[in-house]
């Protein structure tokens, strides 16, 4: 047994560490199209103290550490590109505090979306969090670390904007409190009015530290959720439709999607509009506001509302399961997407690119965009499904996604949860001074370069 393994066992116990080939096989890959790479060890800490000791050991021995939530980002963010230790955070899944009146929750860094959702439903039914359309087993800390979005993103911004404080284990092993908890017992602000240090970790994909505790804003859980579905066949109208909808300032979530199959969806762009209320009157008022906002498109016959009764339950599911269905269309259950953040005016160009790429690479496409924070920008997903048992198809998807990202960067978009190659593309295009600042931050926080190496590396 190696000295490293012995040390890890000393820290987390025998059941919390493994270098068994079958375990390493699983931890060497994610569900996307990137090549797997084996770690040397997998370790599952239970406490911040254990995380600290593992990082100190790794720092001392110069071993890479890859913090992992559920590993569902699809873009290889937890594939240990340089081996080392994959630190699976899922055993740190306790809800530590809910401040009902201040509407925030504090939880451990491996807490999953499903655990928090269930906890709130059972104990605080008036509160909710912004649930992403990812499996319930995905973790909240990982989601904010990659600037995820969720069902409340149109109202309140990226899920990372909802962070209210963090406890982070730095790459050098110090435990650091970020935001209001650094000054007192309350977790109501991640930064303001202090210098906002949360930016040293949010969006860094685990390359600057490990989030061991997280504060997160909660929001009113209205009694009724409802949905309308507007369709148009004129892609050039989509930005104006979204502008009119965002002007209402009362929508929970707005998604725009298109896909060629099944035929009912072919040729149209679908705007799914979610809204909430505490009474039927409130819901009806909002529904009328939504219809009135889009009346000009109805009058011109360029758009109309679909009846949603038969698919309402599916649309209102949180998280939505449609993505999983899409993955299985070509059989073999795989899909990956590029999800650049861009301005809404560019929707038509992005939509055209999706169709162009699908044709060029002979792959099946779907696309879903989500408004962010009232329409200042949107996440535009360029999704391709593939058969996991078809390497040629996977390669075509990979090439299509690379080209999609190059297009997004050309269009002035920014990548969301980019894989290591896409990060390099972004860094090359980045303002040199900004790139230098990134490098300074990374080098200062992680002088040994052990944290999720290969990610956000400026060479």
């Amino acid at each position: 047994m190696s000295e490293i393994l012995k040390s890890l066992i000393d820290i987390v116990g025998e059941r919390g560490v493994s270098n068994a080939p079958e375990e390493l096989w699983f931890y060497s890959r994610d569900p996307g199209v990137l090549e797997p790479h084996k770690p040397d060890y997998v370790v599952l800490p239970k406490t911040t103290g254990q995380v600290q000791k593992i990082v100190q050991l790794a720092n001392r021995e110069k071993i890479p550490v890859v913090p992992m939530g559920n590993g569902m980002a699809l873009t290889g963010l937890v594939i240990p590109l340089k081996g080392g230790i994959v630190m699976d955070m899922k055993r740190m899944n306790k809800i530590l505090e809910v401040n009902e009146k201040a509407r925030y929750v504090v939880m451990e860094g491996g807490t999953s979306q499903g655990v928090l959702k269930a906890y709130l439903q059972e104990n605080y039914p008036n509160l909710r969090h912004s649930i992403p359309d990812a499996p319930p087993s995905t973790t909240i800390a990982a989601n904010v670390a990659l600037h995820g979005q969720g069902r409340l993103t149109n109202q309140y911004g990226f899920n990372s904007d909802m962070v209210t404080g963090m406890e982070v284990v730095l790459p050098t092993g110090e435990i650091c409190l970020i935001g209001s908890p650094s000054l007192g017992p309350y977790w109501f602000s991640k930064g303001p009015t202090l210098p906002d240090l949360s930016g040293l970790f949010l969006g860094w994909l685990g390359a600057t530290g490990i989030i061991t505790k997280l504060g997160l804003r909660l929001y009113p859980n209205k009694k009724i959720r409802d949905v309308e579905l507007f369709v148009t066949d004129r892609v050039e109208l989509v930005p104006e439709i979204l502008y009119k909808l965002s002007h209402l300032e009362m929508l929970e979530d707005v998604n725009v999607w298109f896909q060629p199959k099944p035929l009912v969806f072919s040729g149209n762009f679908h705007v799914t509009i979610f809204f909430t209320g505490d009474t039927e009157e409130e819901i009806e008022f909002k529904r009328k506001m939504i219809w009135d906002a889009l009346q000009e498109f109805i009058d011109s016959k360029d758009g109309g509302f679909m009846g949603v009764q038969y698919m309402k339950n599916m649309l209102l599911e949180m998280p939505g399961r449609g993505i999983a269905d899409f993955a299985d269309v070509p059989k073999g259950g795989g899909f990956e997407y590029s999800g650049p953040i861009t301005i809404i005016e560019h929707y038509p160009q992005y939509a055209a690119k999706v169709i162009e790429l699908a044709k060029k690479y002979d792959v099946l496409y779907a696309s879903a965009a989500r408004l962010i924070h009232g329409g200042h920008c949107m996440m535009f997903s360029i999704s391709f499904a593939f058969n996991r048992n078809n390497p040629a198809m996977m390669q075509r998807v990979k090439e299509a996604l690379d080209e999609a990202m190059a297009f997004a960067l050309e269009m002035g978009g920014i990548p969301w949860k980019p894989n290591f190659a896409e990060q390099k593309m972004a860094l090359e295009k980045m303002d040199p001074a900004a790139r230098k600042l990134l490098k300074m931050i990374k080098n200062n926080l992680d002088p040994q370069g052990i944290m999720n190496p290969g990610n956000w590396e400026v060479n």
């Binding site: 148009t232 040729g267 149209n268 109805i298 758009g303 109309g304």
Partner: protein, 343 residues
Amino acid sequence: MYKLKFNEKVCATCPSSDCLLKCQYMTFSGHKEAHAEIMKIILGKDSRVLHECVTCYACEEYCKRGNHPFYLISERREEKGMFTAARPITNQWINMTEMQGKCLVGDVKDKALSCCYIPELGALGTGEIFKDIAMAGTFGAEFMCPAVHTHFAKMSVIKERLPVVIDNFRRLGVKEVICLHDECYGTFTSIASAYGMEVPFKPVYYMDFLLQRMKELKGKIKPLNITVAYQRPCSNRLIPDKLPLVKKILNLIGVKMPKRTYQDENCLCCGEVIRSVAGYKLADDVQKRNINDMLETGAEYCMFNCPACQIALSEKVSKRGLKPIHIIDLCKMAIGEKEREVA
């Protein structure tokens, strides 16, 4: 291409103009104006009817002289390139009902049980009532009556697809097709006839079948002693001679259907097509008046004939305290096959 058989002289000499004067969604000053409008339509001129008709099908019933005012309105709209609903909604219906070879055909011999392209019908056509025919089901776009496209003034789709549907049934070798959807029966009788399409099998309206079966199962019936309000569907307007069947079936199973304002010829549309064609204000108004009227009768249940109406109104009537149910399920309740519905 098939052509609508429309006798202009019938309209030219019509003493009533009931087709338009009785319309619940357009108003006319009297016979003179209504007559002038229908003549404009016949002559291919613009008419406000072409812009205001909400496609409720009712004029097909109001015309007692055998002409087809609604099909004519739809023809003229299409000729003029008009869309009743939004273009993407219209095309969505055309796309989603396209034949893709994904139909289901059961053990069909002389008879088929047509479930149109509506999954809910498959569940309804089961149990003791349908025991001899349930396995002979057909489902899918290949066996779907394309009448829905009249709502969208796409008669060309009907003329293209209906002969294929008829031929698909013919190739099954059936002598009878029991239609679980009013619209199918209306299509095979009213629309096919209006366009001169030959139907080489006998369409059977499911309520005729239901009445016969309930008579046969009389010994098993326990009167339900409940009160319902009936949501008559648009497609029933194509086959008004079948309307009395509802009362006959309800009488057999001990269900009362008190008189209400919006019933029989004066029934209101479920509202969902109106929502697409004329907007939410009229649709909300129609649905509200309709449900208020149901409640005023003291009905416990809102009884449906068409699954599309049921999907459109179930949530709304439930919120007002009415239990939504299909007439077939009422019959299943009466013979003890189904629990009583709860709101």
